[in-house]
Symmetry: C3
Subunit: 249 residues, 3 copies
């Protein structure tokens, strides 16, 4: 059983963070709210999304596991204006999700959850670099890196207490150094640490992070990067985890 009403803007921004990595996903519903865990087919990027029951305009759910075609779902939600309310209701017999937006009714066939890639376990990491930085700042670094390379590094320097993003191209280089005054929070643990990532993934993730979000970035040395942020002022919570590229492979 699942019946809910939610603000269209919140739903759209939340689902965007998942759809940049996968085309279909499992959606878990219970009395606490809606949650999605997904990993891309190459097992490089993970996402965890939580929309607590209290962030819905109305919410009733028993334990349910839905298989969702995200491409189709985003098209439907895209029919709504930002302020609209999206109603969703599960028909348990037909396994179809009825979505209502201001007089429009869309009946969406769900996918068998067993046919969808297994949900990942997002590991707990204890990494030296802990930085909180504006989403817009991350996007800018990632976009600039894309001018010279297809991969880029995130790093912290304990020596001069900075967080940096850098990319080395064949002829040109790009670097953004952010000191304590340029970020919201910065802890390096006095260490130097740097990891290299694919720009394909970082670019997709950066575009789904709201520009005004405070993104908590955890950086290590040849370790995955973890990015935690809120959508719609805290109504939904997202974690990205991206595996590093090892430079000398």
């Amino acid at each position: 059983m699942f019946r809910s009403e939610i603000n269209a803007g919140l739903l759209k921004s939340s689902v965007d963070t998942v759809s940049v990595l996968v085309d279909e996903c499992k959606v878990r519903l219970d009395e606490d709210g809606l949650s999605i865990k997904a990993v891309d087919p190459a097992n490089v990027g993970m996402v965890e999304l939580d929309i607590p029951a209290g962030s819905f305009e109305s919410y009733e759910a028993d334990d349910e596991l839905l298989g969702l075609n995200l491409v189709r779902f985003e098209d439907i939600v895209g029919m709504a204006n930002k302020g609209d309310t999206v109603e969703m209701e599960l028909d348990e017999e037909t396994r179809k999700l009825t979505i209502r937006i201001d007089g429009l009714r869309y009946t969406l066939s769900l996918i068998d959850p067993d046919s969808i890639h297994q949900e990942p376990n997002v590991p707990d990491l204890d990494l030296p670099g802990d930085i909180t930085v504006a989403g817009a700042e991350l996007r800018r670094g990632v976009k600039a890196a894309g001018m010279v390379s297809d991969h880029m590094a995130f790093g912290v320097s304990g020596d001069d207490e900075t967080f940096y993003m850098r990319a080395e191209g064949d002829t040109d280089d790009v670097r953004v150094d952010l000191g304590e005054d340029d970020v919201i929070e910065l802890e390096t643990g006095g260490e130097n640490a740097e990891s290299l990532f694919s720009l394909d993934y970082l670019d997709s993730m950066a575009k789904a992070i709201p520009k005004d979000a405070a993104v908590a970035v955890e950086v290590g040395d040849d370790y995955p990067v973890k990015m935690n942020f809120d959508v719609a002022g805290g109504d939904a919570k997202v974690t990205y985890l991206l595996a590093p590229r090892i430079e000398n492979e």
Copy 2:
């Protein structure tokens, strides 16, 4: 003889309703005004456009029949700003139309009208469903239907006094139900009636209908749909007629 001045925005919105169906058309001019009747090459969609003499800023015309390249004509009118005045003057000897827009003079060769598809007779129909609905509402239904199918139905239900638009896809369905409170006028004659149409045509037509227009829709059972609306607050009148698709063909 034909010499006229007309507001560029009115001319552009009017001609757009024709150019979504055909690339060339016959234009009839007489003392009452300008009129166009056209049918697409597959004989599925018809349009009738009337711009009365009084909607022009100035207008003088003897009976004339022009053959117009609409693609070219739209490009020219597209050079004007919305508030500009477009002057048109026919050179009867050379059969060229001189179009003047704020210092720019374009000399357009006309086409031999005999080389253009015959003008259709838009039939009078007496259909059970008579609905007047906002252009924006029609567009929304047509757009939503396009997510699941390449055809859609318009229908009226006499049982619950509604106008509806619906599309059935292989797995998903879309439906918009509009009751008396959601439309401007609604008459079903107590009957149930539904007809199926190609989304190719409906989509083109819906895009040319102004969002704020009150569209008078006439719906029957496996019958053509007729849509009447005004452009520019009544300065031009348009009728679309679209032949139905028969479901069991």
Copy 3:
């Protein structure tokens, strides 16, 4: 030695006028400022750009000749917002240009200037037609001409004291006549003169000319056209020279 700070909007608008003709160019620096002369590979269109030292926010330079990849340079400057300051500094040993924009540092490899097409000498011409006209007016004439042909004429008529732009297509013609009231300045020397130009070039040039610029156009009879204008209210000066097409070739 070269170190400077400049407004991003000024730099971008200036460089755009060069990049519509060439992908790489030589940049001359001396105590007076920055200057570029370039001609396109077909030797048809020339551009001369001067940004005086005083138009920079800060400027220090010995005599230097840089080889610049304009495509790359425009991407970098495109990362800046209009009000941003762009810092440029030459590393004389590595022959790299460091570009800083609000915390972002881009290290751009310069090209060997000897590998770049020789700088043209923009000739002094004494032509009968001297017209000063708004950039927007030129753009409009060029755009309209593109509807009917791939070349167009600029001309002056001493008989009725007008500047005109015209294009003849296979079936349609376009003409813009501008009298003394429609332009900023107009001198025909009482002569009739007309030259024909490729729309490929004129279109690119017209797009790089600011709409609100006062463009001084010099027109002769089967002669190149010269267009002088300021960028950013006089902070940079640009000259275009475009060779004529000879009609009976």
